[in-house]
C-alpha cells in the first residue's frame, strides 16, 4: 500500500527554493537532463511551428510561468512554447512532491528498467516476488522434495534459501560464460515473459526467444537456421566485413548456455540441448522435473514478478561478465578461443602483418589450446549468429 504522509520539512523546503533565483537553480538541472530534453525538443519543434503559424504572433496567450514570475521579465519575452513547457516540467519535478512523502513501495516497472543484481537477492525479495508459491500437493514431482519447505493451505511452499542459493549459482555460471564470450540464449515462452526475457538478453548481450521454439533448431539446425545471417566480430565486438564466402561454408551456430523460464512447456528445447551437450539453466516449480536442466532454480514459474526477478538477476550477471570481457579486450586480451579455420581477407592482411603483436594472451589452459597461432596473433574473431528468433523485432536480413 502506498502511504502519503505530510513532510515535516515541507514548508521550509518550499521557502528555501523560492528564495533562490530560479534561473540558477534550474540551470544545474538542465545540464544533467539536456540530452533527454533534446529529444523532446525535436518533437515539439513541429508542434511549435504549427502553433506559431496559426496563432497571431504578438498576441500569444499569456501562460503562468513560475520561472518568469521571479526572474527579470526581459529575459523571458522571447521564450517559445517548448521552452516554457520544459521549464514547467523542471519546476514540477523540483517542487511537485513537496509537502508529502511517499513511502517506498513496489513499482513493477523497476523490475524491468532497473533489475536487481545477484548481490541484491535476499529472502525478503524472493518472498515478495511470490517465488515460494508451489503447486497443489497432489501435483508435485517427488524429485523436488529437497527444495520444498512445507505444506500450507494445500500447496507446497518452496524453500527460499534453496531458491536463493541456486539462483546465485546460476548467476555465477551466466557471468562466467558471458565473460568467456559464450552465446547465452534466454527463453521464456509464456504470456508476459517476453519483456523480462528480452531485457535479460539485452543486458547480457545474449539472445532471446519468447515465441515457440521450433523443434529441430539445434538437431536440424542446418535446415532450419541456414538462412540466418552470421557475422565475424573481433575482440571488441566490432564487425569485420569480408568473410561472407567463408561464413557460407561454416556450420550453423549453437548456444553455449540456455536459460529457460518455463521448462514444462519447453521440453523439446531442453531435450535437444541434452542431446547436443549444451548446459541449461531452468526455473523448476514443484511440478517440474529437475533432471531436465543442468542448473535448476527452484522457484515459482507461474508468477511474472518472480520470473522478472530471476531474469533480471541473470541478466545483470551476464552484464557484469560482458563488462569484464570488454575491459580485457581494451587491453588487447581475449578471454575465449577464437574461431578456427577462418582466414583473413587479403585486404586486411597487409595492414595487420605490419602491426602484428607477438601474441594476444589467452586465458585458457595450455592443454586445451588449439594450434592456430596465426589467428591468435591477428586478434581475430568469433562468429555471432543472429538467430531467427531474436531477429523477429528486427527486419530480416536477406
Amino acid at each position: 500500500m502506498i502511504i502519503r504522509s505530510v513532510a515535516r520539512a515541507g514548508r521550509r523546503a518550499l521557502v528555501q527554493t523560492s528564495s533562490q533565483p530560479w534561473r540558477r537553480f534550474l540551470a544545474t538541472q538542465t545540464d544533467t537532463i539536456e540530452t533527454t530534453a533534446e529529444n523532446s525538443f525535436k518533437q515539439f519543434h513541429s508542434l511549435e511551428a504549427q502553433f506559431n503559424a496559426t496563432a497571431p504572433p504578438q498576441e500569444a496567450v499569456p501562460s503562468f510561468d513560475p520561472a518568469a514570475a521571479s526572474a527579470p521579465a526581459s529575459a523571458h519575452v522571447t521564450d517559445s512554447v517548448a521552452e516554457q513547457y520544459h521549464r514547467f516540467k523542471q519546476s514540477q519535478a523540483l517542487i511537485g512532491k513537496l509537502g508529502s512523502y511517499i513511502t517506498p513501495h513496489y513499482q513493477p516497472h523497476t523490475l524491468l528498467s532497473n533489475p536487481p543484481s545477484p548481490a541484491d537477492v535476499t529472502l525478503e525479495l524472493l518472498l515478495a516476488s511470490e517465488a515460494h508459491q508451489g503447486h497443489a500437493t497432489s501435483l508435485w514431482n517427488p524429485a523436488n522434495a529437497r527444495y520444498i519447505h512445507g505444506i500450507r493451505q494445500g500447496v507446497h511452499i518452496i524453500s527460499l534459501e534453496a531458491t536463493a542459493a541456486h539462483l546465485r549459482r546460476a548467476a555465477k555460471v551466466v557471468q562466467e560464460v558471458s565473460r568467456r564470450g559464450g552465446l547465452v540464449l534466454f527463453v521464456g515462452t509464456r504470456d508476459g515473459q517476453d519483456r523480462a526475457v528480452a531485457r535479460a538478453s539485452e543486458l547480457a548481450k545474449g539472445y532471446h526467444l519468447f515465441e515457440r521454439w521450433i523443434p529441430g533448431s539445434i538437431t536440424n539446425g542446418q535446415q532450419i537456421l541456414s538462412k540466418c545471417r552470421t557475422k565475424v566480430v573481433n575482440g571488441k565486438d566490432e564487425e569485420i566485413p569480408g568473410f561472407e564466402e567463408q561464413l557460407m561454408e561454416r556450420p550453423v551456430l549453437r548456444p553455449d548456455l540456455v536459460v529457460c523460464m518455463n521448462p514444462l512447456e519447453n521440453y523439446v528445447l531442453l531435450h535437444e540441448c541434452a542431446l547436443n551437450n549444451i548446459p541449461t539453466i531452468g526455473v523448476i516449480d514443484t511440478n517440474a522435473d529437475p533432471t531436465w536442466v543442468t542448473y535448476p532454480i527452484p522457484a515459482n514459474d507461474d508468477s511474472l514478478r518472480c520470473i522478472q526477478v530471476i531474469a533480471g538477476v541473470l541478466g545483470r550477471a551476464g552484464e557484469a561478465g560482458q563488462k569484464q570481457r570488454l575491459e580485457l579486450a581494451e587491453t588487447g586480451r581475449v578471454t575465449y578461443r577464437p574461431a578456427d579455420n577462418l582466414v583473413l581477407p587479403e585486404a586486411l592482411q597487409e595492414k595487420t602483418v605490419a602491426a602484428a603483436e607477438p601474441g594476444a594472451e589467452m586465458d585458457l589452459d595450455e592443454s586445451l589450446e588449439d594450434a592456430d597461432e596465426l589467428a591468435d596473433k591477428l586478434d581475430m574473431a568469433n562468429n555471432r549468429e543472429m538467430s531467427n528468433h531474436a531477429a523477429r523485432a528486427i527486419k530480416k536480413i536477406d
Binding site: P104, A145, C273
Partner: protein, 254 residues
C-alpha cells in the same frame, strides 16, 4: 536408471568423454566453468519426519514434506467461523519489500499500510495475550470490539458520503431493491405466460370431451375479425402434391 535422463546433469563428463575419444577436437569453452561451479545434487530426498521405533512406519511417508502450522491458525479459524462474511472482503496480497510485517506495532489494531482485516484482529489478539497477559477469550473480545468500532465508523463514513454525493447531484446504478423488483417482475410475467398456456390446454382438452356442445361464449367473431376470417385462405390444399399438414388425430376429423 530407466525413467530418468541424466544427460543434462552430465554435460561435463560427456564433453570429456567425447574429447578423450577424439570425437571432438577440443573441450568446450564452458568446461572449466562448470568444473568450478558444479551443479547441485539432484533427486536427493531429505528425511522430513523422524522415524519412530514404536511401530513400523511406511518409508514413503517419511520423505514427504510436513505441514506448516502457526499458533495464529486456530485464532483465524475461530474468527472467520464467527464472521464468515469477512471472508468475502477482497484482500490485497501484493507485498512491497517482503519486510512489511516487520514494522507493524500491534499495540493498535489499525496499522498504516495494512487493511483492517480478520488478520489484524488475530495479530492484535496475539499481542494482547503476549504483552498484556490476557487470556485468549479476553484478548479476543478486546480485539473484536476494537475491530467492530472501526468497521462501524467505516459504515458511517460510507453512508454519509453517499448522502453528500446524492445531495450534490451524483447518481448511482441500480440498488438492490430495484434489481430485486425487476427480477420479480420478470418472473411474474413468465408465470403469467405459463398460466395462460395451462388454461388454454385445459380448455382445449375440455372442448374435445364435449365435442357435440358448441360453446356460446366469446368464440363468435364480430365485425372486422369476421370479415378477415372470411378472406383468409388456407395454405394447404387437399389431394394436392404438397399434401396437407397433420392437424391432429381422429378426434378432429370424425
Amino acid at each position: 536408471m530407466g525413467r530418468y535422463d541424466f544427460r543434462p546433469m552430465r554435460v561435463r563428463q560427456t564433453a570429456k568423454a567425447l574429447f578423450d575419444a577424439r570425437r571432438n577436437d577440443s573441450l568446450p569453452q564452458w568446461y572449466n566453468i562448470i568444473g568450478d561451479i558444479p551443479p547441485s545434487e539432484t533427486l536427493a530426498r531429505p528425511l522430513q519426519r523422524a522415524p519412530t521405533t514404536k511401530k513400523a512406519r511406511k518409508p514413503s511417508r517419511m520423505f514427504q514434506p510436513l505441514p506448516i502450522a502457526y499458533p495464529e491458525d486456530k485464532l483465524r479459524s475461530e474468527f472467520f467461523g464467527d464472521h464468515p462474511w469477512e471472508l468475502a472482503r477482497p484482500r490485497i496480497i501484493v507485498e512491497d519489500s517482503g519486510n512489511d510485517a516487520k514494522h507493524y506495532d500491534w499495540s493498535n489494531i489499525v496499522q498504516p499500510g495494512k487493511q483492517l482485516d480478520g488478520e489484524s484482529v488475530v495479530q492484535r489478539q496475539m499481542w494482547l495475550m503476549k504483552h498484556r497477559a490476557m487470556s485468549k477469550p479476553m484478548a479476543y473480545d478486546v480485539a473484536r470490539r476494537e475491530f467492530y468500532f472501526h468497521r462501524h465508523r467505516e459504515d458511517i463514513r460510507r453512508r454519509v458520503a453517499q448522502e453528500e454525493a446524492l445531495y450534490v447531484g451524483a447518481y448511482f446504478g441500480k440498488g438492490p431493491m430495484e434489481i430485486g423488483m425487476e427480477l420479480e417482475d420478470r418472473t411474474w410475467e413468465g408465470w403469467k405466460r405459463w398460466a395462460r398456456e395451462q388454461l388454454d390446454d385445459e380448455e382445449a382438452a375440455r372442448a374435445q370431451l364435449f365435442s357435440a356442445a358448441p360453446s356460446t361464449e366469446s368464440t363468435a367473431l364480430e365485425g372486422e375479425e369476421f370479415e378477415a376470417a372470411l378472406e383468409e385462405v388456407q395454405s394447404s390444399v387437399p389431394q394436392s402434391k404438397a399434401g396437407q399438414p397433420a392437424l391432429g388425430g381422429a378426434a378432429i376429423h370424425p
